[in-house]
């Protein structure tokens, strides 16, 4: 298609006329030029409507021609919510309107406009409240009308990247002041990041007159010549957090994704410039009503003629410059309405596009373009995030930064005041030098403030119009909300949703406050503005999520498990084999012959030094002073409140050399716990703790034939029961590997050896065990089989059979707690608790009367058919007994052996179970274990 509104080349244009770009809009093909935004290309082709409004489905055209344009949000391919007045055109783009149903031209919801009086402020809150049972219906109806594009779950995902950065000075905004600040800071030796939301540096100079362009060329030349400045364009500082931790969003990355640059800056210079403020009057949202800056951008950057006949309503130089630009390119400016002379506009006329304008003096002009330049808003968001509260300046007629700022945050440029380009550059330079000095740790002298120029305070004409175009909130809605009692800025914002749309209030907040002020008879100073929070600019969820880091831990035998069909079990960071297909058969094989299980995740801490026994006595509830070399002891650790938090065995390998094992999930916490005692309470003790969890591959060899199997592989260890009895540790050579440890312990209740081999040889030893024990019937078993076996044996698992309230006495561990020790972690509570032992819940073994019923873990146990009196903590079918078995926490009066308790199952039915005389269901005497 042709481009009837494309102008001849303009001095500051960013177009490459030699590169046409073909794209689709709403199903039809169009041509633009490289350098066009989607909107500028469409405007050049004569398209004037880009969206339908959120509530009333009114046609909307370009307003600001920048990222914040509330009316130019489109779908590009699979990407929703693309800012079409910012996004550069690319060949083949498939651009579609995203808030029009069934189409942009004929929108079924336009009927909403007729219902406008029912859709006033708070409409959603009031209408869709009751009855609550209809909420799902409301949701499905409303979602039809809500804006937003569509995402396809099967769409190709862009690569959303993350990186960290460090800078002495970050400058947010590369207008003349920001450029000057960046260069000055770099010249003072600082490493600078200059972040600019547009595609190029220069700010408003880019769409200025020849003098502005010449000045920009100078500034750019200086910037390019200055090393030490990293320039990020099409990027934005979206958040400022404690200690200048900045979220910088880099857009337009290769592949389409955004990148989050998490930046730590010594100092931050906010040079965000000014945002032009729309004016409120009837018809102010019609296509053809645009801001002065939008005209200047479209004409000078994109060589687009925004109309043919125009009225320009202005209160400042920018409006005059827009009028001059229009005249220069052949647009007839039929009237410049100057607010400073008391002139004004009453309403824009037209239905699908501006057809005329009515002035306050009653004159009407037939036009297709109405330009307003009525004031500025300082986007102080980043300063607000640093604790600054903006203050209304009646002279400048805008909120300006208040006095309070951390000494590592600076501001320059339009956001703080007005000035000529030279004045802005001078202020920027001074601020840049100060920021660099502060980054070096110096205390720079305060920079003299920029002045402000008087500007008339202009918000609304004599008619009502839209205050927030993203949210379709009118000035009438604000007045109505005030009448209902929502009389503060923050309340009216939440009630009407004004300022809560995608432009984050940059266009809307001042007018919202002003209209509220009119309604409640208070001025801007009294009302104040709303608080701007992160993000400064919208950010995609993909960028926030980014590449996700979730560390994974694998044992040296992991590849073997995978190759042998193991069902993976994710346990914290570890991936473990749950079973290799049939856990019941695996468990039976262990009881019958021999099995091996990978227990590498078991925590292992090497303890060395003369004071290790003191440490063990302190962290375990039992006594450790008399542990012989070569012996192993089971211990339980309590927190200071007496609650059990970990258990395991510790062995004495040499005189001052111990190895402590912990639960798999508790390894890190126990290490920190030991360090805590050693560093804070007993810094005089000589103990060194070295975590060796993954230095060893750990394999439990369990079953009546485990000794026979191991005997084939072990050198230097006498495995006979006399030489290597239960609860002993030995070192030697296993399968040709030196420096292996073997502990004779048994979680499964069978004769078993836990061997720890240097991790690099784990796979070798594992495979050798299986090969060597083939004739013995050796099998690999997984975590599930181990859980069955240990439950048969009545061995508890901390965190499963205990919970966050289980003190040592309630875990069947009363025999272990040695209160006659002077001190150990948790002792005071255990001492006092021992005086009321009869009140404490007990850990007991249960067997359901129905041997086929396996109660779900967590099922409650009730007393007198109603009161909760405990719960089932572990429950499985026992292959050994051919029946269901459980562990449970119960109230003490239910704990007597032979008691029958009532279990409530998840489906509400009840089952009965008998309390067993001891925790072990299988081999309570321990003869297998000790054999």
């Amino acid at each position: 298609m042709s481009a009837p509104y494309r102008l001849e080349p303009q001095p500051g244009e960013v177009l490459d006329r030699s590169q046409p770009v073909r794209f689709r809009w709403d199903g039809r093909e169009y041509d633009g030029l490289a350098g066009d935004t989607i909107v500028s290309a469409l405007l050049a082709s004569g398209v004037d409507c880009f969206s339908r409004s959120f509530k009333y489905s009114r046609p909307r055209g370009v307003l600001t021609a920048s990222f914040v344009d509330p009316n130019c949000t489109v779908q590009v391919g699979d990407e929703p919510n693309v800012r079409a007045a910012h996004r550069r055109l690319a060949a083949g783009m498939d651009v579609r309107p995203q808030n029009a149903w069934p189409s942009l031209r004929y929108d079924a919801r336009v009927v909403n406009s007729a219902l406008a009086r029912f859709l006033t402020a708070g409409f959603y809150y009031k209408t869709f409240m009751k009855p609550q049972r209809l909420w799902p219906v409301y949701a499905s109806v409303l979602s039809r009308f809500a804006s937003g594009g569509c995402t396809r779950p099967d769409a190709a995902h862009a690569y959303y990247d993350k990186r960290y950065a460090h800078a002495d000075v970050v400058v947010a905004g590369a207008g003349p002041a920001g450029l000057a600040a960046a260069v000055a800071a770099a010249r003072a030796g600082a490493r600078v990041m200059l972040v600019e939301e547009e595609y190029d540096v220069g700010g408003h100079l880019r769409w200025g007159d020849p003098a502005d362009l010449a000045r920009l060329a100078e500034l750019r030349a200086v910037l390019v010549a200055e090393p030490g400045i990293e320039v990020l364009t099409d990027s934005v500082v979206t958040g400022r957090y404690d200690d200048n931790w900045l979220a910088i969003l880099q857009r337009g990355r290769p592949g389409g994704g955004e990148r989050l640059v998490k930046t730590r800056a010594a100092t931050l210079v906010v040079a965000a410039g000014l945002v032009e403020r729309p004016y409120v009057f009837a018809g102010n949202d019609l296509p053809g009503v645009v801001l002065g800056t939008a005209v200047r951008r479209l004409v000078n950057l994109h060589a687009v003629r925004p109309g043919s006949r125009a009225v320009v309503f202005t209160a400042n130089e920018e409006g005059e410059a827009a009028a001059a630009d229009l005249q220069r390119v052949g647009v007839e400016v039929v009237r410049t309405v100057d607010a400073r002379r008391g002139e004004g506009i009453a309403r824009a006329l037209g239905r699908r596009h501006v057809q005329g304008v009515e002035l306050t003096d009653g004159w009407r002009h037939a036009v297709d373009l109405l330009v307003t330049s009525t004031g500025w808003t300082a986007p102080t968001s980043l300063l607000n995030m640093a604790g600054n509260r903006p203050v209304w300046d009646p002279t400048a007629a805008r909120f300006r930064p208040g006095p309070e700022l951390p000494d590592t945050v600076f501001a320059t440029g339009g956001i703080v005041g007005d000035g000529t380009t030279d004045e802005l550059v001078a202020h920027g330079q001074a601020v840049g030098e100060a920021a660099a000095a502060r980054a070096r740790g110096e205390r720079p002298a305060p920079v003299p403030p920029l002045g402000v120029r008087p500007h008339p305070a202009m918000f609304r004409g004599p008619t009502h119009g839209f205050v927030d175009m993203s949210e379709d909130v009118t000035s009438k809605d604000i007045v109505a909300a005030a009448a209902e009692g929502y009389d503060s800025s923050e309340l009216v914002k939440r009630f009407t949703t004004a300022t809560m749309g995608p432009s984050q209030g940059k266009l809307e907040v001042v007018n919202t406050v002003a209209v509220l002020g009119e309604a409640v008879g208070r001025n801007m100073e009294q009302l104040g503005t709303t608080v701007w929070r992160p993000p400064y600019a919208p950010i995609s969820l993909g960028a926030l999520a980014g590449r996700i880091f979730e560390p994974v831990r694998r044992s040296p035998m992991h590849a073997w498990h995978e190759a042998h069909g193991a069902t993976p079990l994710v346990a914290g960071q570890w991936i473990r084999p749950d079973s290799y297909g049939d856990p019941m058969a695996e468990a039976s094989a262990v009881r019958r012959a021999v099995g091996i299980i990978d227990v590498t995740p078991l925590g292992k801490l090497e303890l060395q030094g003369p004071d290790v026994p003191k440490l063990l006595n302190l962290v375990y509830v039992n006594k450790w002073s008399k542990l012989d070399v070569g012996s192993v002891r089971y211990g339980v650790m309590c927190a200071e409140d007496g609650v059990v938090f970990d258990d395991g065995v510790t062995g004495r390998l040499a005189d001052e050399h111990y190895l402590m094992s912990t639960t798999s999930s508790g390894a890190a916490a126990v290490w920190e716990w030991l360090e805590n005692w050693l560093q804070t309470e007993h810094a005089d003790w000589q103990v060194h703790v070295t975590p060796l969890t993954t230095a060893y591959a750990s394999i439990n060899v369990a079953g009546p034939r485990s000794r026979e199997l191991l005997a084939r592989l072990v050198e230097g260890i006498d495995l006979s029961p006399e030489a290597f009895p239960y609860m002993r540790v030995r070192t030697g050579r296993i399968a040709g590997v030196e420096n292996c440890l073997a502990w004779r312990i048994g979680f499964t209740g069978e004769l078993s050896y836990e061997i720890h081999v240097p991790a690099s040889y784990g796979l070798h030893v594992w495979e050798t065990l299986l090969r060597t024990g083939d004739d013995l019937g050796v099998v690999a078993f997984g975590v599930e089989a181990q859980r069955i076996l240990r439950l048969e044996k009545g061995h508890l698992i901390v965190g499963q059979d205990t919970d966050g309230l289980t003190k040592a006495f309630s875990a069947g561990l009363e025999g272990l707690v040695k209160l006659d020790k002077d001190d150990f972690a948790g002792r005071p509570e255990l001492v006092w608790g021992s005086e009321r032992l009869s009140d404490a819940p007990r850990l007991v073994a249960l067997q359901p009367l129905d041997p086929h019923l396996v109660p779900a873990e967590g099922s409650q146990i009730v007393h007198d058919h109603s009161r909760i009196a405990g719960r089932v903590t572990s429950s499985r079918r026992s292959p050994e007994l051919g029946r269901s078995i459980c562990l449970a926490q119960v109230e003490p009066d239910l704990a007597a052996p032979g008691s029958v308790v009532t279990i409530v199952l998840p489906d509400g039915s009840r089952a009965e179970a008998t309390v067993q005389p001891q925790l072990a269901h299988v081999d309570p005497e321990g003869s297998r274990l000790r054999g």
């Binding site: 957090y241 931790w245 730590r264 200071e640 560093q679 002077d822 001190d823 005071p828």
Partner: protein
């Protein structure tokens, strides 16, 4: 994100640390009575203003150390042990 001044590693992001609570002293367990012990276990000053805190550098030197933090402004400075 806060920068925590680790006395060994220098300033690092707070995400590298575990907050180990308000600085407090463990009572003498041989003499302590329940009210004092439970105050030690469960009661926190939670003051507005400068407080002494203990942090553990999980991802770094793995040392416990003290810092002082202004809970109003989130300003942080090195602290001395309790």
């Amino acid at each position: 994100m806060l920068l925590i001044p680790c006395p060994h590693c220098g300033p690092r992001n707070s995400s590298e640390f575990r907050y180990a609570g308000e600085g407090r002293r463990r009572p003498d367990v041989t003499a302590v009575m329940p009210p004092e012990w439970r105050s030690y276990l469960y009661e926190r000053r939670n003051a507005a203003g400068w407080v002494r805190e203990s942090w553990y550098h999980t991802f770094g030197c793995r040392r416990f150390f003290a810092v002082e933090r202004d809970t109003v402004t989130n300003a942080v400075r090195p602290g001395s042990p309790a």
